[in-house]
């Protein structure tokens, strides 16, 4: 049996999770809501994070468009996504919530603008 300590990152409460692994079974304690349990299981099987960055606005070197992934993305895919985002040039105007990359690598996850520019 293996025991892991993790801080839940779902909300600012930051629950101290204890994760016990035994024969493929995962037991989670220390969470104050069901999201902590989900987070711990996800973290063991397939860790994911919301990605935020900025992309360039075409023709306006002083304007950056803040973006986020619509859902948490598998951690292993983050570096390639960032490279793609930093190479992008988006034409203005951009609306908040506008999809800038649809269904990234068939994950069903979109990259959306988080501010109107």
């Amino acid at each position: 049996m293996k025991t892991l300590q993790k801080i839940c990152i779902c909300c600012p409460t930051g629950c101290h999770l204890t994760i016990q692994l035994a024969d493929g079974n995962i037991e989670v304690t220390g969470n104050r809501c069901p999201r902590g349990d989900n987070y711990a299981r996800q973290e063991i099987n397939d860790p994911r994070r919301i990605v935020t960055a900025t992309v360039a606005a075409a023709g306006n070197p002083h304007c950056r468009i803040p973006v986020k992934s619509s859902e948490p993305l598998p951690c292993a895919m983050i570096p390639a996504l960032l490279e793609e985002l930093y190479a992008m040039q988006v034409s203005l105007p951009v609306a908040m919530g506008q999809i800038l990359l649809k269904d990234y690598c068939q994950t069903g996850i979109d990259i959306i603008a988080t501010r109107a520019r």
Binding site: G14, T52, A53, T54, R64
Partner: protein, 419 residues
Amino acid sequence: MKALEYEIAVIGGGAAGLSAAAKCAASGRRTVVIERGEELGGVLLQCIHSGFGLHYFREELTGPEYATRVLSQASEAGAGFLVSATVMQITPDGPGHLLTVYSRQEGVIMVRARAVILAMGCRERCRGNLGVPGDRVPGVYSAGTAQQLLNMEGIVPGRRAVIVGSGDIGLIMARRLTWSGVKVECVLEIMPYPAGLSRNIAQCLEDFGIPLHLSTAITGIQGKDHVESVTFAPLVNGVLDLTQSQRVHCDTVLFSVGLVPENELSRECGVQLNPKTGGALVDDTLMTSVPGIFSCGNVLHVHDLVDFVSQEAERCADSAVRYCAGAVHDDQPGLIPLEPGDNVRYVVPNQVVAGNPHHLFLRATTILEEAVAEIRDTEGTCRFTRRLRHVRPAEMISLDIPGDCTADARGLTVALEEK
């Protein structure tokens, strides 16, 4: 000279000011927000990461999304806005206040208002505040300045960075820099515990294997034309042990070493400040020592969550609205002192009306794994208790106290006892 007349003037167009203005305007009061910068939204605009709004909007938002929401709440409620406009002075004016405003577009504007809400936020402490020795070379930034350069203008400040202080902005910047191709060598924290939220230690440092050196102080910055290295040493029993000094090569140093409420304007108009918070002393309506002037958000005390800023701003707005209606008095009857006790660095508000329900914000001075928050009266009788787990100086504690707990008390102390 232009003159404007409002019932409530809100100084500062960040999260606190916009949330307060939304509530004031929605209550039917003629309200104006006066913002020094060119844009409304404050520091949220450069906080492009996610994690805001879970309490207040029941949804996880990025900073710009949160700012957009509170801005549209304020404008839909009918609040007016003056941007690129700096309030230079607040003077008494009959039953209200007269604000001298310097506007970039319109020159001097005189704004008359019955009530004023101070919502100017805070600013960062920097290298100079710490007196860090070494060469005065380029490459040294406050974490928020680097955040603004990177997120608003797309300027990557360097290639190898050391972050001094483990405040939340520094932690967020550790991840942001890593995701921008910068190698973050380490984070140095002088205290034995982190200054930022546990979740930010997890998702901004541990995710990337960035070392966090606790009880460690920066001892110098070296470089000829630009930062070339940083030296640091551990504190052993509170004393710097230079025999264990280390040097790390880097071209960028970020300071994330605390925030200071920006209260120059408040002090000049006679608002008394709390030396512990750097913010105004307030009663339970969030009114300062100057009648009709209220305070909320980071200018009152530095918050770690914008959600709490918005909630506090709403309570403040509610008081200002009631003040305009004559329902909050200049000298509230029945005010008693509320003092910080054991293990409590500060509590807001500083005075309450005995017998009213209260909402308290406090910060611990130390780490307590199992604790009880206790409120005692001047006779030492315990009036209220609440169990708390994982108490951290970096994480603000919020307590709701029912009215009957404080009935007839002549003074109250709030303490955190270890259990």
